[in-house]
């Protein structure tokens, strides 16, 4: 499971690369690790939403909720 890895070349815009580097720094991960985690997170969110769950940002102070992704 952990052993077989494939290689890919990635083209990112300037801002995207900055975002990636910022995340890598804050999360203390290599850029590869950031993208791998992001991918797993994206996939799970996407599948759960497809199953009817909702992803929501909740603002306790303003007592507001806003949905993050809609199909």
């Amino acid at each position: 499971m952990a052993s077989d890895k494939r290689t890919m070349t990635l083209n990112l815009t300037g801002p995207e690369m900055e975002a990636l580097e910022g995340l890598a720094s804050r999360k203390d991960l290599s850029k590869t690790a950031v993208l791998r985690q992001a991918l797993r997170l994206y996939e799970m969110v996407d599948q759960r939403i497809a199953q009817g769950d909702k992803l929501v940002f909740e603002d306790d102070k303003a007592e507001k909720k806003s949905e993050v992704m809609v199909l």
Partner: protein, 214 residues
Amino acid sequence: MTSYAIQIRRRSDSDEKGELVDAELVDGIKPEDLIEIESEWALPRKAIRQQLLDAGIRKNDPNWPGSLHWDWSSQVKAGKLQYAGIDGWAIRCEGRWQGAMLYDDATKFARVEADLGKPLVYIDYIESAPWNWEVKAIGQRGEFESVGARLFAAAVRHSYEQEYHGRVGLHSLRQAEEIYQGWGLDPFGADPSYGYLVYFELTRQSATKWGETK
């Protein structure tokens, strides 16, 4: 799916340590495995449950094992293993599943101040087979030891592999709180958003005792 050869210790009645028995640590369990696990554990669960009831012990009693009602095959229904970020490890020995663990390495983050917001391996569920439990109330002594420790070590290793530096998080069943304390995890108190189970975290520092990179 990968397998690692390990050994687990049979519990001994005497002062001598029990024998080491060859076992298999399976990395990457499949839905079929979850079903097989529960098919092996269902009747032993039922037997323990009946013995507890016969001994006058009710659910929610401190002596009632917190995971007695679990059903690993229900995780198949819940579709947990379909996500790339959720996976599991299990231990097989003497033709039986001895322990299992499901973890999430995509959506959970450290709560400890020093590494706040950094990703970790979160253990969704971990359990040792019912025949491995010590249940004093009915005089049951476990068969194999350190099954949980072996699975936990696998979580730490996976954490290192994801570059999370060994960080692991979990919500402890009440009966197991002293275990995680003893293993070096930091307690964060009862979590109201998780049924008041205590959240524990293995920090980057404490993780080094659980395995090193040479």
